[in-house]
């Protein structure tokens, strides 16, 4: 190689500026413009997508995006104006159809145009913050069609008319509706709301306002609610078919307000068909409907609940104060049970076991049951009746069911300690007369009471059962150790532990010789086994079976009380006895004596004695004879049993007083217990705590609690705080 000159390549600037032919832009635009026309004229098939895209692309590339965009706007607007005219021209029903069709066309066209102008959409438009093609198409549609003067109001009124027709029972083209509504939704939520939804809701409100006014005048409550329910369901269905599902709540709210909320009060209180009527007649279907409709409106359920509560309290109050009903305790309680069952049914079947209604039921029952202070006594009498005979032949499961129902009523009692007192008395009588239908049922109830009130409540009751069993064992022992007694009168003794059994002060009467000897033998036997105990014969209780032979040889076995036995045995040694003689020899208390003589001399079929004079009442100067002419169909005759009755006034007072006395130490014990653990506590809190602790037995009276506290202060268990007079302090 020789030295050749190195040639340096020099790159020079392109000297020839490429000038886009100004006419180029115009030409290209014209192509695109034409394409748009063709698209709108349903002639798109002849177009080449690739070519159009390239043209648009080039325009943008060569900085003619502005021209392209504004051209698009102009062209599209022009077409839409045409379309608008054709829609306006449509007559009657065809209006919506035309609108729908043109909308579909527009969307298809828009799709193609956008694809065609995609480059601009992606580059020029974002850079210049202009509206993208698709959105532009919608906006132009909105402005030129929907908001055009001649179309806007016509569209709205057409739609509303259709809805109205449907509401009045005509069939409409739901598909068409759906499309039009969807169109409005696509155009933006403000369009949907302003151009349709708002007026729709207003018109609907007006419609339902008028309709509900009409209905309330002609229909009763049950039928009205049926109608309301139908309308509500219709509207819900309408939404699913052609309205915006998201806003279902808005139209249902309108119906609820106009048809239900505005007429709630009137419906509930409608005479002869309102809530009270439905409750009385157990109209579960109507009640359920009311519940479901009213729960949709504010305070709807509260209104039902309040009316139900006041009605229940009113009926309950009448029930417990009805003088007629008070004569029969068993009937009284049965009515309570029936009422409870009725409302339990209503709440479970119609009010879907709503807890707030259950609570309203409970508080109402608690309210009126305690209005009558004899409720505890009556409930005990009811149980007594059931356990004596009412449950005879009833299956075990059914017994449980009945007892559980009674327990529910029992739990409403505020004075459970009063019930306990009566229950003890009644149980004692049942056990001692052997008159209980089922031992299992008795024990089952004790268990239920224990669960509800704690073991202390039932410990004495259980003691009574134990005594019965122990007595049986004692009798066996007595009989086997005295075999000589098989001849002569038989003695059956029940030994009761004082304290477990209701106390009844009684003077022992004079027993006939045959019996007293026997009783002595038993006493020595018993005390021989149990030294240190004391036995006292309760002659006011107990029964005897006596074999009697009357004047014409009639033989009968008489079942009588102990007192009656003492009286009758006297006639073995005397033909005639005066009242005073009988009283003196037997030492039976006067009131009991009179009752015994009355049941033996004045009661038909049981008159084993004859009285002179033959008056109804027992006088102190009366004389008595054996009724030689006594006759009875039966060999065994029962003369007057001691049955649990309603207490007489003075007895009631006494029981009530004993209950009050028993409560005092319980209150004091509670106060001391609380103060011992808290050491210092203020007045209001003590009252609250004590009331709470004693709740399961009785409702403590704040005044009584205060009295007990003062008594405790006096006895130096507590003192008042020096600086804060409201506080009490425990003194160890």
């Amino acid at each position: 190689m020789s030295n050749q000159k190195k040639r340096i390549f020099q790159i020079e600037a392109f000297k020839n500026r490429v000038v886009v032919d100004p006419k180029y832009a115009e030409k290209t635009w014209k192509i695109l413009e034409h394409a748009i026309h063709e698209i709108y004229n349903h002639n798109a098939s002849g177009l080449s997508f690739e070519e159009l895209y390239r043209n648009a692309y080039n325009m943008v590339l060569h900085k003619f995006g502005e021209k392209l965009y504004s051209g698009l706007v102009t062209t599209m607007t022009a077409h839409l104006k045409e379309i608008s005219k054709s829609i306006e021209a449509a007559q009657g029903d065809l209006f919506l159809e035309e609108l729908n069709r043109k909308w579909n066309d527009h969307n298809k066209a828009l799709q193609m145009i956008r694809d065609m102008l995609m480059y601009m959409d992606r580059t020029y438009i974002p850079n210049t913050h202009k509206t993208p093609v698709h959105e532009l198409g919608l906006t132009l549609w909105r402005d030129n069609i929907i908001h055009s003067g001649k179309i806007q109001s016509r569209l709205l009124s057409t739609l509303l008319e259709l809805v109205h027709s449907e509401r009045t029972g005509e069939v409409i083209d739901r598909g068409l509706m759906r499309n039009i509504v969807k169109m409005l939704m696509d155009l933006g939520s403000s369009v949907y709301q302003e151009d349709f939804e708002k007026p729709f809701l207003e018109v609907s409100a007006e419609f339902y306002r008028r309709e509900s006014q009409k209905f309330i005048e002609c229909y009763d409550c049950g039928d009205y609610l049926k109608k309301a329910e139908i309308r509500l369901n219709e509207e819900i269905e309408r939404v699913t078919h052609y309205l915006d599902a998201k806003n279902e709540g808005k139209i249902t709210h309108v119906v609820e307000k106009e048809m239900i909320a505005n007429h709630m009060m009137r419906l509930v209180h409608m005479e002869n068909s309102g809530l009270v009527n439905m409750l009385l007649n157990d109209k579960h279907g109507d009640l359920g409907r009311m519940y479901n409709l009213f729960r949709r409106v504010p305070n709807g359920l509260a209104m039902i609940r309040d009316v139900m509560t006041s009605h229940l309290r009113e009926t309950g109050k009448q029930l417990v104060t009805d003088a007629e009903r008070l004569k029969d305790p068993v009937e009284y309680v049965q009515r309570l049970l029936d009422e409870k069952e009725k409302y339990d049914g209503i709440i479970s079947l119609a009010f879907s076991n709503d807890k707030t209604f259950q609570n309203a039921l409970n508080s109402s029952f608690e309210y009126f049951i305690n209005l009558n202070s004899r409720s505890p006594e009556f409930i005990s009498l009811f149980v007594d009746d059931k356990l004596r005979k009412g449950l005879k032949g009833v299956s075990e499961e059914d017994v449980e069911i009945i007892l559980d129902k009674v327990m529910m009523i029992f739990c409403y009692l505020q004075e459970k300690d009063v019930f306990e007192k009566y229950y003890k008395q009644h149980l004692a009588k049942r056990l001692l007369s052997g008159k209980t239908v089922s031992d299992d049922a008795e024990r089952s109830l004790i268990v239920k009471l224990k669960t509800a009130c704690g073991y202390q409540y039932t410990s004495k009751l259980e003691g009574m059962f134990t005594d019965m069993k122990t007595s049986q064992d004692t009798m066996q022992g007595f009989c086997s150790s005295h075999p000589e007694l098989t001849d002569g009168p038989t003695l059956v003794v029940q030994v009761l532990t004082t304290g477990s059994w209701p106390t009844q002060p009684s003077i022992t009467c004079h027993l006939p010789f045959e019996m007293s000897a026997l009783c002595e033998k038993f006493r020595s036997y018993y005390l021989g086994i149990h030294t240190g105990r004391r036995l006292s014969w309760q002659t006011n209780m107990g029964t005897a079976d006596i074999k009697a032979i009357f004047g014409k040889g009639q033989k009968h076995e008489l079942n009588v009380s102990t007192y009656q036995m003492c009286i009758l045995m006297l006639f073995n040694n005397a033909d005639r006895l005066s009242y005073k003689e009988i009283e003196q020899v037997t030492a039976i208390p006067a009131s009991d004596l009179k009752r015994c003589l009355q049941s033996m001399a004045c009661v038909k079929g049981k008159n084993v004695l004859r009285k002179e004079p033959m008056s109804k009442d027992i006088g102190e100067d009366d004389s008595f004879f054996v009724n030689e002419k006594f006759a009875s169909k039966f060999y065994k005759v029962k003369v007057g049993t001691v049955v649990a009755q309603k207490e007489s006034e003075p007895e009631k007072q006494e029981t009530r007083q004993r209950v009050e006395e028993d409560r005092k130490p319980q209150i004091e014990a509670a106060v001391v217990r609380i103060m011992k653990s808290r050491k210092v506590l203020d007045h209001n809190n003590i009252i609250a705590e004590v009331t709470k602790q004693l709740q399961s037995r009785f409702l403590a009276n704040p005044t009584e609690i205060k009295k007990r506290i003062e008594s405790l202060i006096e006895r130096e268990f507590l003192e008042r705080d020096n600086s804060d007079r409201k506080m009490y302090r425990y003194l160890a």
Partner: protein, 209 residues
């Protein structure tokens, strides 16, 4: 120095002597203390009625244990605290004593003392209504005339309580001090007032309705 002490101690002994002498003037020699008769005499010498509240105040100052009796110890301590050793000085001191008792810090103490003073039997815890009424009049009558008159009227007509215990007594004072009268507007029966006052307020309200 020594002289000074001996003079003051002499003075002390002298002072004590005077107090003792005064004591012996009224004391019952067989008991060794001033008995009710002695107190009556003291009162007449002082120129006050023996039911006067100032005697009660004197008893309080003396911290006398038993009503109607002053022991020598009590007499000595009390008169020394009063700073008196003669009858004339004692007379003057009585009016000062009134002011001392009325001081809020002392008043409640005096009031409680007045009740205790009435417990004459051993193990006695309450005072009968009659005496309470008199005591109330004596102790609170001047300061709370309308309340006391009304309360005494009530105590006499009610028959829930035959005696008043110290707890109820102390609350009478609080009642007078705290509750507006006669409207009794700020009385709240739910609060820890003794039941007797609840009943009194109810009685008052019924009377005025």
């Amino acid at each position: 120095m020594l002289l000074f002490v001996s003079v003051s101690s002499k003075a002390k002994i002298k002072g004590l002597e005077k107090i003792d002498r005064l004591f012996n003037t009224y004391a019952n020699s067989s008991f060794g203390m001033i008995d009710p008769e002695g107190i009556e005499a003291l009162c007449s010498d002082l120129g006050v009625d023996y039911t006067d509240v100032r005697i009660l105040m004197l008893a309080w100052k003396l911290k006398a244990e038993k009503q109607g009796y002053f022991t020598q110890d009590e007499w000595q301590t009390g008169l020394k605290a009063l700073g008196v050793d003669s009858l004339s000085k004692l007379k003057k001191a009585l009016s000062d004593l009134e002011k001392e008792v009325e001081k809020p810090s002392n008043y409640e103490d005096f009031y409680t003392y007045a009740f205790r003073y009435c417990l004459t039997e051993e193990k006695q815890k309450s005072v009968d209504i009659e005496s309470i009424c008199e005591l109330l009049n004596l102790v609170l009558g001047v300061q709370f005339r309308p309340q006391i008159d009304s309360l005494i009227e009530y105590l006499k007509v009610q028959n829930d309580y035959k005696v008043i215990n110290s707890d109820q007594w102390i609350n009478f004072l609080r009642f007078c001090k705290e509750i507006s009268f006669p409207d009794l507007e700020n009385y709240d029966a739910i609060q820890a007032w003794p039941l007797i006052l609840d009943n009194y307020v109810e009685w008052m309200r019924e009377k005025h309705s």
